[in-house]
């Protein structure tokens, strides 16, 4: 394996658990441990533990912090109280997506942006550039000082509750607690968030504590069936849950409206970067819309494959895979809005052959919420 790759603090732990290490956005991370499908099913049925330390963390603090955040992202963070987590696209002036991020509201003057690994430098530079128009705000890249574990699945909570005195059971979805001790490790942040379509938590700690925390969680979750989980199932889980992946569904050209992220665009909050471009698109009509595809014919839709209507290319596949929870081949694609309604038949060009797919409503998979 390429020695130039960046390693997370859990690199040796992954090898110990039999992780198959690949290059992911310049990071050496496990694509799988025992197998993608097995890990996928474990997360849906019991729980899986992911190393997401490659994610970036950018701290935005000071009296001007909220104004900067509100300018940078499309969602309304102004109404969010301390302890809330807000998912939002962050746009460029053309309305294209710079990144999709989580904003942790940690106080009136304290925000933590959690950003995609591949975009850390880009986001940090972009936020610094925007910060020049504000006073009293400090933007710091804390990515190297933060490790992050995600424990996901219906038994993630029950495994975690016994390891801490914090009331994580009562913690609502997209809520966070600061300074939580979990199995003797102090996590400076624990949130009920994730990227799998299941209940779960994300734990932020110091890099030097990450391996101990991993081992404590694995030991505590042994009886419940907790498994180490890699990037492979992370991708199939999020695809089934209809969640976009930056670089596939989202990039500097596609807008949140095209990606179907309308509910994360707060038109009523005032100015933000990209607003005018998005308003023009809203008024003038979108050229593309993100749809779910389910294969009718045999075949796997893959990133970049042309989507056909009447023999002509009308769009392109952004992600696609076998979906273990559905036992079908599914994908997401950009097509003109006229083709986006659920139930349409479209072709996917797979190795120069047109295979039939039908458009379906996203998400493909939704968990049963008992509470």
């Amino acid at each position: 394996m390429n020695d130039q790759l960046k390693r997370t603090p859990l690199f040796d732990v992954h090898r110990k658990y039999g992780g198959r290490i690949i290059d992911y956005a310049g990071w050496a991370l496990p694509v799988q441990f025992t197998g993608i499908i097995e890990e996928h099913r474990a997360v849906r049925a019991t729980a899986g533990l992911f190393d997401v330390s490659d994610m970036g963390e950018v701290e935005i603090t000071g009296p001007g912090a909220l104004a900067l955040v509100q300018q940078a992202v499309t969602a309304d963070v102004g109404r969010a109280r301390s302890g809330r987590v807000v998912y939002s696209p962050m746009c460029n002036h053309r309305g294209g997506v710079v990144d999709d991020i989580l904003i942790y509201v940690l106080g009136a003057e304290r925000y933590l942006a959690v950003v995609n690994a591949a975009n850390i430098e880009k986001d940090f530079n972009w936020l610094q550039e925007l910060a020049r128009g504000h006073s009293g705000v400090r933007v710091e890249n804390r990515s190297d000082a933060v490790a992050q574990l995600a424990i996901q699945g219906p038994l993630a909570g029950p495994i975690l509750y016994g390891l801490t005195r914090a009331s994580l059971k009562e913690l609502g979805y997209y809520r966070a607690l600061e300074n939580v001790e979990v199995a003797g490790t102090s996590c400076f942040l624990v949130s009920r968030t994730g990227y799998t379509g299941e209940d779960g938590f994300e734990l932020y700690c110091r890099p030097e504590d990450a391996a101990a925390l991993w081992e404590e969680l694995m030991a505590a979750g042994q009886e419940e069936g907790l498994v180490p989980a890699g990037l492979g199932c992370r991708d199939t889980l999020r695809l089934e849950a209809g969640m976009p992946l930056y670089g596939q569904e989202l990039d500097d050209e596609r807008t949140p409206l095209e990606a179907g992220l309308d509910r994360f665009v707060a038109w009523d909050k005032g100015a933000f970067v990209g607003r005018e471009a998005l308003q023009r698109q809203q008024a003038g009509g979108r050229r593309l819309a993100l749809v779910g595809l389910e294969m009718v014919d045999r075949g796997v839709p893959r990133t970049g494959y042309p989507v056909l209507a009447g023999g002509e290319q009308v769009g392109y596949v952004t992600s696609g895979s076998y979906a273990p929870s559905l036992d079908r081949h599914i994908g997401m694609a950009y097509v003109p809005p006229t083709w986006a309604r659920a139930g349409n038949e479209l072709g996917v060009s797979i190795r120069q052959r047109a295979a039939m797919a039908k458009t379906v409503k996203l998400p493909f998979y939704r968990r049963n919420k008992e509470e």
């Binding site: 394996m1 198959r20 694509v31 799988q32 197998g35 993608i36 499908i37 097995e38 492979g232 991708d235 199939t236 045999r298 075949g299 796997v300 893959r302 895979s321 076998y322 081949h329 190795r351």
Partner: protein
């Protein structure tokens, strides 16, 4: 990793096992392990004439799409239809139940240039070390 004796192997990790003038073709244990969970197999058409080195099928795992290269020239005399329903046969039994197609060989002479089990075992181990 072990591989059966009596088979011949390609550098692109296909195996071929000759019985009379026919031969079964599949992917090696090394290949299936590298691909991971196989979820889709595109089989060749029956009766199709294939040249050595030609792509005869496609195997897709969750993460990867991989072409299969024909180890020797011949005509497709059978395909393993079961793989359309249970593609993971290739993972579970790469050298046996996971066979992909059967060929009527044009000539046995082509097989001499393929690797035998000892050579392939070393070759695959060296590939593994390269990562």
């Amino acid at each position: 990793m072990t591989y059966p004796a009596g088979y011949r192997y390609t550098k692109s990790h296909e195996w071929i096992k000759v019985v009379g003038n026919k031969a079964k073709v599949g992917l090696t244990n090394y290949a299936q392990d590298k691909l991971g969970d196989i979820t889709f197999v595109e089989l060749p058409d029956l009766g199709k004439k294939l040249k050595r080195g030609e792509v005869f099928g496609v195997v897709e795992s969750v993460k990867a799409v991989s072409d299969c290269y024909c180890p020797a020239s011949g005509k497709v005399s059978a395909v393993n239809n079961q793989l359309e329903v249970e593609p993971d046969f290739i993972n579970r039994s790469p050298h046996d139940d996971g066979w992909i197609m059967e060929l009527e060989l044009d000539s046995l002479a082509e097989l001499d240039t393929l690797m035998d089990v000892d050579t392939y075992t070393k070759f695959a181990a060296a590939e593994e070390d390269k990562g």
